[in-house]
């Protein structure tokens, strides 16, 4: 359903009310087209639209709405409801305007007596099989059937359902004699977020088409024919929950009646106002309309004008927002002297004074570099900027890092070295022009679902796919999608595989010499070509270590080099290795080698895990870089910030997260302000992280919940959710999107205000009154953000950096004319086997990842109904390995590595290869990172999460460590009643 909430969104900028009058959010009936202009006349008005546009859409462009039911602009026209018929001069009959394309000089009449009469008849038939309970219907006032009945002037329904031999309608459970109606189907409430009420269904197929065309899951179908036609999830006897439905919400969005309806709307009523904002889950950065009654959020609806998601959503962004009002949320500041004490609720002033005194006390005793910060990739750019500024301008050091350390820091290094900047090269729209896609170390349908749907759409149109992944992800084969090649490599051999691809391209002379000569350093290319051409890099040689058959790899290389526009999308399966940075460089080499940089449909595209990973990196979160990826050693860069902030900036790099923890164990790092991250659960080698945290004198956790890290904290500062503050997120395509305050912060303050209060408690004199002022400071100091203002974002909706005088509208595609660093740089990528090796004690390789319904450490999604799909981490084990160990589906198993051991339940599947096991890290009671080791990327210290040698054996239940940890966590979360 596409609802236009009554009140346009409004926002305060510098105290001024700015109405949202910029974006047309109307449903135009059919999708837009591009083509040469065509002029026609509709009801006497001349209108010009692109060739291929439907008469229905052209009419909407002219301001004339033609009645319709089966048409919506999120899916292709279908022409089934016959309500949109029109008359066209010179043509016979009354064609459906949704399926009739415009033609030059066409003269259309939308409201003749003939079509009015026909439409009324069609509508009468629809209504004759629809319950007339409008006043109590959850879609009352928000129902297209109701609206269109009014539009066609329906005043009477002459038809009543026959009562004999059986009742012939779909909405009465029983006939007048009390007999059950065999055509009636009860409401399906199995999905936690929406209901399916077949009694209200008009079988317009919008839901089925949305599931196919927009989401690409093909979970829904029309079962039966004629009057027996019903929408059906999956096979007979399936309900929505047991079907293949992934709860993206596209069907609910498409439904014109209350047939598919959000439970929140049924419970709370139709929303009355909306605010456009940005999702706080993955790095796709979907735009949503938060729809509310008063300050109560009723639902999140994907925003059609959102340039990252183009009106689509996934189960997390669409439905999993309940964590923001979950009972576990902490709303009062708390402190304690020691971590074995219970928490004490205190005033903000007492908490901030306590924190400031402790941090300053540590610095006095142990020096200025004894404390630091971790910025959040879930918080806004403005908040992140302030946290790193806190370290640099108030603490007086560069001890600032971010969770990108443990995900995409190798992207920063690798793309910086080869291209000259740390960012994806494309926008998401680019995938629509792609001919061959490599997906390596990523699982877009689960990790980046909305992009995954856009990719699947392109694949259904004929683009080819190469998947490089140890695991058979859904993209390898799912409905109407099949990879041309799945290179199921052994974990840890990415560099060998990508270099072997380059070997084939170089030795078979499939490279783009003209591009390389023009855009890259030719001498470096020759060194590189000589290197990759060595026989030791050939697929025939490397297959014995990678496990990828030579012929399969050769075919994949030929396809990528010769198949047209080639794009590479990658994720943490690339970066989280001891050679993460080397693989990123190998990928960049491959793109340059094949000339796949600098235009639509190509490029190197890191899929960022969290919503603002890109932004947190842009904002100078890393300890060696000031905002805009400029090294702290550069005096001319430091001078910019020293002038702006009135301080001296340390020219030496600070500590990275693993280094902070090492230094904490050593006793030289003793205080940490951690905003919106849970390093105890997310970082590798949990026991080492715990030891580091426990050794500190002051850990300040600033978060929504008492997360696992907070078990070791002395100060808890309650955070605000993304619904409760203004700011910006930057997504994986460098798109800066506005986050808008939907409701007041439940904790009293937005996170940027809390950081400011902490800074001021430590002696700073910050006086920001609105995040737009922080953005102004970012723009003034950071060339790639120079022209970014909240006014510009209001005007354009979003912009992609660089946005400056050279690129005033932003930059959808990078490196179009030349690389940021000048000439593209080929770098030799020698494969070095990880030292995390299997052996008799640990014969299997563990790799980790995420699942669609959960997000990161699960702090948010575990506190929503998404747990119905995933209530615990499971260990995927190949049937062969399970058989050898006597493990059956659902058995408890012990998972042990040299770092530690945990237990979880087994899932037997051939998605993983023999010798490889896989699990997620969404649940703290599993603590998958107890298993992972301290091996890390050579350049960036990004942990090697993706390769851990393990053993799996049957178990009776939790390990001693798990039980001890659970008990300690319970003790740590005790809260004393507030003092009178």
């Amino acid at each position: 359903m596409n609802v236009h909430a009554g009140t346009p969104h409004a926002d305060l900028i510098d105290g001024r009310k700015v109405a949202d009058a910029r974006h047309d959010d109307r449903d135009m009936g059919t999708p837009p087209k591009t083509g040469k202009p065509v002029t026609l006349t509709i009801d006497g008005f001349e209108v010009t639209v692109p060739e291929g546009t439907s008469v229905m859409r052209a009419s909407m462009e002219a301001g004339i709405q033609i009645p319709r039911l089966c048409a919506t602009d999120m899916v292709d026209a279908f022409g089934s409801c016959r309500l949109c018929m029109v008359e066209i001069e010179g043509r016979r009959g009354t064609p459906a305007s949704c399926t009739t394309p415009v033609a030059p000089g066409m003269v259309v009449h939308t409201q003749t007596g003939k079509v009015q009469k026909l439409r009324k008849g069609v509508m009468e038939l629809y209504i004759s099989d629809h319950p007339l309970d409008c006043l109590t219907c959850s879609a009352n006032g928000d129902c297209e059937l109701q609206t269109q009945a009014g539009a066609v002037g329906l005043r009477d329904v002459r038809y009543t359902a026959p009562q004999a031999p059986v009742l012939a309608n779909h909405f009465s459970a029983r006939d007048t004699s009390g007999e059950a109606n065999p055509l009636y189907k009860a409401k399906d409430s199995s999905n936690p977020y929406f209901t399916y009420d077949p009694a209200k269904c008009i079988v317009c197929s919008r839901c089925v088409r949305a599931c196919e065309e927009v989401q690409g899951t093909f979970a829904l179908t029309i079962e039966g024919r004629g009057f027996d036609s019903r929408v059906s999830p999956g096979a007979a006897f399936d309900d929505f929950l047991s079907s293949d439905c992934v709860s993206c919400g596209a069907c609910v969005q498409a439904c014109p009646t209350a047939t598919l309806q959000e439970k929140s709307v049924i419970e709370k009523g139709t929303p009355t106002r909306s605010v456009v904002t940005t999702c706080a889950y993955c790095g796709v950065g979907c735009s949503f309309k938060a729809e509310l009654n008063g300050d109560e959020l009723v639902r999140m609806v994907p925003y059609k004008d959102g340039k990252a998601n183009r009106g689509h959503s996934c189960v997390k962004g669409r439905f999993a927002y309940g964590y923001a009002s979950h009972k576990d949320r902490i709303l009062s500041p708390m402190i304690r002297d020691r971590i074995d004490e219970p928490w004490r609720e205190v005033s903000w002033k007492e908490a901030l004074t306590f924190a400031a005194n402790r941090m300053r006390g540590i610095q006095e005793a142990y020096g200025p570099k004894s404390i630091g910060v971790i910025t959040s990739s879930r918080c806004t750019n403005e908040e992140t900027f302030l946290v790193q500024k806190l370290a640099r301008a108030v603490f007086g050091n560069n001890n600032t890092d971010t969770c990108a350390r443990v995900c995409h820091s190798p992207t920063g290094y690798g793309l910086g070295q080869t291209f000259g900047t740390s960012a994806g090269t494309q926008d998401f729209d680019s995938v629509e022009k792609t001919d061959v896609v490599i997906v390596i170390g990523a699982n877009p349908t689960d990790g980046h679902p909305v992009f995954g749907s856009r990719l699947k759409k392109r694949l259904r149109q004929g683009a080819k796919l190469i998947v490089i992944d140890p695991r058979r992800i859904d993209l390898v084969r799912s409905a109407h999608v099949e990879a041309s090649h799945h290179l199921a490599l052994r974990p840890g051999t990415n560099v060998a595989v990508v270099t072997a691809l380059a070997h084939v391209i170089v030795t078979e002379r499939l490279y783009d010499e003209a591009f390389i000569r023009d855009r890259c350093n030719w001498d470096e290319f020759q060194d590189y070509a000589e290197f990759v051409a060595e026989e030791r890099h050939s697929p025939e040689t490397t297959q014995f270590l990678t496990g990828v058959p030579a012929e399969e790899l050769r075919a994949a290389a030929r396809l990528f080099a010769t198949g047209g526009n080639g794009a590479i999308y990658y994720g943490l399966g690339v970066t989280e290795h001891s050679q993460g940075s080397t693989t990123v460089m190998a990928i960049a080499n491959l793109a340059m080698l094949t000339g796949n940089i600098g235009r639509e449909g190509v490029g190197v595209n890191p899929l960022r895990g969290q919503n603002n990973v890109q932004g947190s990196c842009d904002m100078g979160s890393f300890p060696h870089e000031l905002p805009g990826y400029r090294h702290v050693k550069l005096p001319e860069v430091r001078a910019i910030f020293e002038k702006a902030w009135g301080v001296t900036i340390d020219p030496e790099p600070g500590l990275r997260i693993p280094n902070m923890l090492d230094a904490a164990v050593d006793g030289t790092f003793r205080g940490l302000y951690c905003q919106g991250e849970d390093i105890l659960q997310s970082d590798p080698d949990t026991k080492h992280v715990a030891a580091g945290l426990a050794a500190m004198d002051c850990v300040i956790v600033h978060d929504l919940f008492l997360n696992e890290t907070a078990n070791y904290a002395h100060v808890f500062l309650p955070g605000s959710s993304f619904l409760e503050k203004d700011g910006t997120f930057t997504n994986a395509e460098r798109r800066i999107n506005r986050v808008r305050k939907v409701m007041a912060p439940k904790n009293g303050y937005a996170d940027w205000e809390i950081t400011q209060m902490l800074a001021n408690a430590m002696g700073a004199e910050w006086s920001y009154e609105h995040p737009s002022e922080i953005m102004a400071e970012i723009a003034a100091t950071t060339p790639s953000f120079a022209n970014v203002t909240y006014e510009l974002l209001e005007q354009k909706g979003s912009v992609q950096w660089p946005c400056n005088d050279a690129n005033p509208d932003g930059t959808p595609l990078m490196h179009v004319e030349g690389f940021v660093r000048g000439k593209g740089r080929f770098i030799l990528t020698e494969y070095v086997a990880t030292d995390e090796k299997t052996g008799p004690r640990f014969p299997l390789l563990l790799t980790t990842g995420r699942i669609l319904s959960q997000y990161n450490v699960g702090a948010q999604t575990r506190r929503t109904d998404n747990v119905i799909w995933h209530d615990a981490d499971r260990l995927e084990v190949h049937p062969h390995d399970a058989e050898q160990r006597g493990i059956k589906e659902g058995d408890w198993v012990k998972l042990a590595s040299r770092s530690g051991e945990t237990t979880l339940k087994a899932k037997i599947t051939d998605r993983v290869s023999p010798g490889v096991v896989y699990t997620t890290f969404h649940h703290p009671d599993t603590q998958a990172n107890v298993i992972t080791t301290d091996y890390s990327d050579w350049a960036t210290n990004c942990p090697e999460y993706k390769v851990t040698a393990v053993q799996v054996s049957p178990s009776n239940g939790p390990t001693d460590w798990q039980e001890d940890y659970a008990a300690q966590a319970t003790r740590s979360r005790r809260i004393l009643p507030a003092a009178e």
């Binding site: 570099k369 560069n398 001890n399 060194d527 001891s578 080397t582 300890p623 060696h624 090294h631 050693k633 030496e652 790099p653 600070g654 500590l655 990275r656 280094n659 090492d662 230094a663 164990v665 050593d666 030289t668 770098i827 030799l828 020698e830 070095v832 030292d835 301290d934 890390s936 050579w938 350049a939 960036t940 210290n941």
Partner: protein, 67 residues
């Protein structure tokens, strides 16, 4: 950090730069360490080199002397 971990990380860096063409690997390793290792980490490395540099790749030792 433990000496073993420090030695391991430094040698990892050396492994990469030694795989690159040219004759300035020690200089490039030193530059990487200056750019990414916090001073107390570099001091620990230098101290380790001064006490014999056990376990360190020879190029790392050469690089450490340029820090």
């Amino acid at each position: 950090m433990s000496p073993e971990k420090m030695v391991y990380m430094a040698n990892q860096i050396a492994t990469f730069f030694k795989s690159q063409r040219g004759s300035d690997q020690a200089e490039r390793i030193a530059a990487h360490l200056k750019d990414f290792w916090e001073p107390r980490m570099r001091e620990q490395l230098i101290a380790h080199v001064e006490t014999g540099g056990a376990g360190l790749d020879a190029t790392v030792i050469e690089a450490a002397r340029r820090l």
